[in-house]
Amino acid sequence: MSIQSCVTIINEWDIVAARQLGRNVAKELGFGTVDQARITTAISELARNIYLYAGKGQICIDKLNDAGKAGLRIHAADNGPGINDIRQVMEDGFSTSGGLGAGLPGVKRLMDDFHIESETGSGTQIKATKWLR
């Protein structure tokens, strides 16, 4: 069961809108301030990747309810160039060494579950979930 709302990412201001959406949902679900900040940081990171590398895409926030366990899922989708070597971008130090922020390993650390699918030429789909403890 999930309820979804989305933000289209085209320019940098949309990153803020996506963060705001994520924070509202996180608050609603009862996440504490630290987890709210982690979720919004993860959203920022994913939205920035769309803005910088794909040009256009979407960030959707889902409320999850899995056997009584509540959670928030970020779904980042774009039809950009895709990622050639996923293993490489998931390596620590690959994106951070250029000062590009926390990178995908950072998103993975901030959230509880992390899934990525990407195909060169057809885009990237990332789903990252945080469960309410």
């Binding site: 504490g32 301030t33 630290v34 900040a37 982690r38 940081t41 620590d92 130090g93 951070t96 922020g101 926390a102 390993p105 950072g106 650390r109 901030l110």
Partner: protein
């Protein structure tokens, strides 16, 4: 998580103590707390959040504006927390790599090991020290049934793991050369074909190959672009470069190598080296070949092995114990 459960009360105590009296002791307790919280992987944003909530509890009248300011601090600290965790994970990976490298270096030592032959009339000393874990220099001695002593010294352009892998191949190429006695030029021609066929075109190997025949006291040698060694004439107390022309191994399939020949008299020396010796860098630049000769002269009365050991120590000190390139030095000294 014991620490996490008591973290809140512990931090509250720290805070209260320090607010009551701003003592160094209270601050020291804070430092100890941070060590513990790092140990238990508590992220900086959690501390900021704890600080804020304790402040609200202890001072209900604290202005809203102050409390809001903590949201910014928390947001900023998240980035630091992530950077710290990434650093930890990279450090762990580095630890793994280091131990893998140590194993690889041991394997290489076993693979490339060669015994310095002990024969009457010729005193031999050899030292080879890698700049990093793995050695891209290589030396090898062979004593055949006629008591001829062959010596090979080689250097891969480049250092570290790629160079070391390449050297292992050279070693096996040499082991599989035909048993019957071959001359230095023939051996280089053979190895050149192997390298040309098997090694990446961007990689080159230099090699000096020499053979001493104790029957005739003749030294035969050929070089594939290797750093020239020295010949020391004991009678004249003179050094001269052991020049030999030849293309690097692996450049051109059909390279021919010219062979040289000279007589070695009692007390004479042959000094062979890799460019890691002459490219020892000091503050004034590379050392001069004359500097090296001065060091050889300084220890000339010692045994060949003691000479090479002492020269290595001197040059190591000269470079403040930081080797930039693999270092190999061999001395053959005909007994007086």
């Amino acid at each position: 998580m014991e620490f996490r459960e008591m973290m809140e009360s512990k931090y509250r105590e720290l805070l209260e103590n320090y607010i009551r009296e701003q003592s160094e002791q209270a601050l020291y307790a804070g430092q100890k707390f941070s060590r513990k919280s790092i140990e238990h992987k508590v992220s900086p944003e959690e501390i900021v959040s704890l600080h804020k909530s304790l402040l609200i509890e202890m001072y209900p009248e604290v202005p809203e504006s102050i409390l809001h300011s903590f949201d910014i601090l928390l947001e900023v600290m998240i980035g630091y927390g992530l950077a710290y965790r990434e650093h930890q994970s990279l450090r762990h990976q580095q630890e793994e790599l280091r131990s893998e490298m140590e194993i690889a270096a041991n394997v290489q030592q076993t693979l490339l090991g060669t015994k310095v032959p002990v024969i009457q009339g010729l005193d031999i000393g050899a030292i080879s020290v890698p700049a990093k874990h793995m050695n891209g220099d290589y030396f090898h001695f062979v004593q055949d049934e006629n008591n001829c002593i062959s010596v090979a010294i080689a250097d891969v352009i480049g250092k570290g793991i790629p160079a070391a892998l390449c050297m292992s191949m050279i070693k096996y190429a040499m082991d599989s050369l035909p048993e019957n006695r071959m001359e230095p030029s023939g051996i280089l021609e053979n190895l050149n074909r192997v390298v040309e066929q098997n090694v990446d075109p961007s990689m080159f190997i230099t090699m000096f190959y020499g053979m001493f025949d104790p029957e005739s006291d003749q030294f035969y040698y050929a070089s594939a672009g290797h750093e020239p060694g020295f010949y020391y004439n004991a009678e004249k107390k003179e050094y001269r470069d052991l020049n030999a022309r030849g293309l690097l191994l692996g450049v051109e399939k059909r390279t021919k190598y010219r062979q040289y020949q000279m007589e070695i008299h009692p007390g004479d020396m042959i000094v062979l080296m890799s460019d890691g010796v002459t490219e020892c860098r000091t503050e004034e630049g590379f050392i001069e070949r004359e500097t090296l000769i001065d060091y050889i002269d300084k220890y000339i009365d010692l045994s060949a092995q003691e000479i090479v050991n002492n020269i290595f120590k001197e040059l190591e000190k000269l470079q403040h114990f930081q080797l930039r390139d693999d270092f190999t030095l061999i001395i053959l000294k005909r007994d007086v």
